[in-house]
């Protein structure tokens, strides 16, 4: 497929589907031009399918009589958690509570001069009691495992869940802590310098996962 900006594989461009460019397509093109090489590893349909599979596995594993709740790590994990909660609710035929966790205060690089650019503290919004529930903790990409560690510490300060399970859309390898996901949408090996970026309609205008 030839695009205005050279040879790439824009798997889910709306142009391919319906013959006209959308705003999201232009953003994809621009980002391509700015960043050089970019490969789409999951398109919209594939993300949908991955979430369906994860939903089915969670339901298959869920013990009888225990309440499930979904908690997403800001910010992409929050959106994925909402999607997962509604998929679970549909399949189970009952409401599945969904919350958002901000892990900034629990990061291990807060006092490190080599830390990321300054993290911004946002709100944690969990409108239910997590005690005795099976919590599905949701993040977009599992990489070093440090965010998951922070999220678990934050969760434990909120109460005592029956169990915490980790669900991620992408496992890109490269762990620095002994942490593994229970549910994985897609596994890929990305080199340390590469950026695995999950774009979602709600935050980025388009659903896709790219490696840059």
């Amino acid at each position: 497929m030839k695009t205005p900006f050279g040879k790439t594989s824009p798997g889910n461009l709306a142009f391919v589907r319906n013959g006209c460019y959308t705003l999201a397509d232009f953003r994809v093109f621009l980002r391509l031009r700015l960043s050089g090489i970019m490969t789409v590893i999951l398109n919209r349909e594939q993300i949908e399918q991955a979430l369906d599979e994860v939903t089915a596995q969670i339901i298959a594993d869920a013990p009888e009589g225990v309440d499930l709740a979904v908690i997403g790590i800001r910010s992409r994990g929050e959106i994925l958690a909402q999607r997962l909660a509604s998929l679970l609710a549909k399949r189970l035929g009952k409401d599945v509570p969904c919350g958002t966790l901000d892990i900034t205060l629990y990061r291990d690089d807060l006092n490190s001069p080599h830390g990321d650019s300054q993290p911004q503290v946002r709100t944690t919004e969990i409108g239910f009691n997590i005690d005795a529930k099976v919590i599905i903790l949701v993040d977009d990409v599992l990489y070093t495992g440090r965010s998951t560690r922070a999220a678990m510490d934050a969760l434990i300060d909120l109460g005592r869940p029956e169990a915490v399970r980790l669900a991620v859309l992408i496992d890109r390898g490269g762990r620095e802590l002994p942490i593994q996901a229970d549910y994985i949408g897609h596994k890929t090996d990305a080199a340390p310098g590469q950026l695995v970026q999950v774009n979602l309609v709600e935050s980025d205008g388009t659903d896709q996962v790219v490696i840059e």
Partner: protein, 319 residues
């Protein structure tokens, strides 16, 4: 077509909070947004988070305080810092030690953040130039009380949604009030219209150069404002007689039940504390449904946690 970067986060790089006059509106909003994230800590089962673990905060209070001092202690504890409490009455200041010597000695013990309240304007600034720790001004003379200004605008923003176009009266002893000054900067930078109300004898010199209207009659203002912030008469700082009698002051500038009847039904009644009940405000008003005085105290905790967190972050990144 340009890609619009959605709300690009501001980078906070101030390791001292000395006053609100020097802050941009973006910086003030950034502190308020950050404070929202800290409110939740106080509502959960473990009321603690780890970002200041291993840091030492010193409360260096050369003047009396109930709210501010305890609020800083609690804020620092909730962020897992260790706290040294310094009070003038039980310290070597009574033996003649200077401010800088005291601060340097405290710093020699390994402090990271110094919270200072002092009767002299500029004390916090002086300290910030002479020690390595982060300095947070908890009130200096008649100059500024930045965390009070922040918690006041935080409270208003939380209830009204915005400061833009909100009409605010600050009433009473403006001349001796650092709260009035910090409030003025925070409120006007966020787009509010501020009126100072009080007798001419309690207006600060040079008030006409400030971005504020001045009124000498509470009755003229009471019907028009969305927020009214009542100040205490600071008898301990006043020399001479600024008004003939307390009763007369109360008659003209006190917030009474009668006056409240003419105010907008959703007016917010604020007071930085401590209240002299029956003087600047009747008890029924202080405890009435428009009063957000205790909300202010509650919000102060979140705001102070945010400030402690941010100055420490700025210090960590400048190393």
């Amino acid at each position: 077509m340009a890609i619009r970067k959605k709300n690009k986060p501001l980078t906070w790089n101030r390791k001292h909070l000395l006053g609100l006059r020097e802050l941009s509106s973006e910086e003030i909003k950034f502190i308020l947004d950050t404070a929202e994230g800290f409110e939740e800590i106080s509502t959960r089962s473990v009321k603690k988070a780890p970002p200041l673990r291993g840091k030492v905060v010193v409360n260096l209070f050369f003047e009396d305080s109930t709210r501010t001092r305890n609020s800083f202690v609690l804020a620092a504890s909730r962020l897992s810092a260790d706290i040294i409490e310094f009070t003038m009455k039980t310290s070597s200041v009574s033996k003649g030690e200077t401010l800088l010597d005291t601060a340097r000695n405290m710093e020699a013990m390994g402090t990271d953040i110094v919270v200072i309240r002092h009767g002299a304007g500029g004390a916090a600034k002086l300290l910030s130039r002479n020690i390595d720790s982060c300095v947070i001004n908890a009130g200096d003379g008649f100059c500024e009380h930045p965390t009070q200004g922040l918690l006041d605008v935080y409270t208003i923003r939380k209830i009204k949604g915005t400061l833009e176009g909100v009409k605010i009266a600050i009433v009473g002893d403006i001349a001796h009030s650092r709260v009035a000054r910090s409030d003025l900067w925070a409120m006007t930078k966020l787009g509010a219209e501020v009126t100072f109300v009080g007798p001419p004898t309690l207006m600060p010199a040079g008030v006409e150069q400030l971005p504020v209207s001045v009124s000498y009659s509470l009755d003229e203002v009471i019907e028009k404002v969305d927020v009214i912030n009542m100040l205490r008469i600071q008898f301990e700082r006043i020399g001479g007689n600024p008004f003939p009698s307390i009763r007369e002051y109360s008659h003209y500038f006190g917030l009474t039940v009668e006056r409240m009847k003419r105010a907008k039904p959703d007016i917010l009644v604020m007071h930085p504390g401590p209240i002299n009940r029956g003087l600047e405000m009747e008890s029924e008003v202080a405890d009435g449904q428009n009063s957000v005085i205790l909300e202010q105290v509650k919000n102060g905790l979140a705001v102070r946690m945010a400030v402690l967190f941010l100055v420490n972050q700025a210090a960590a990144q400048s190393h």
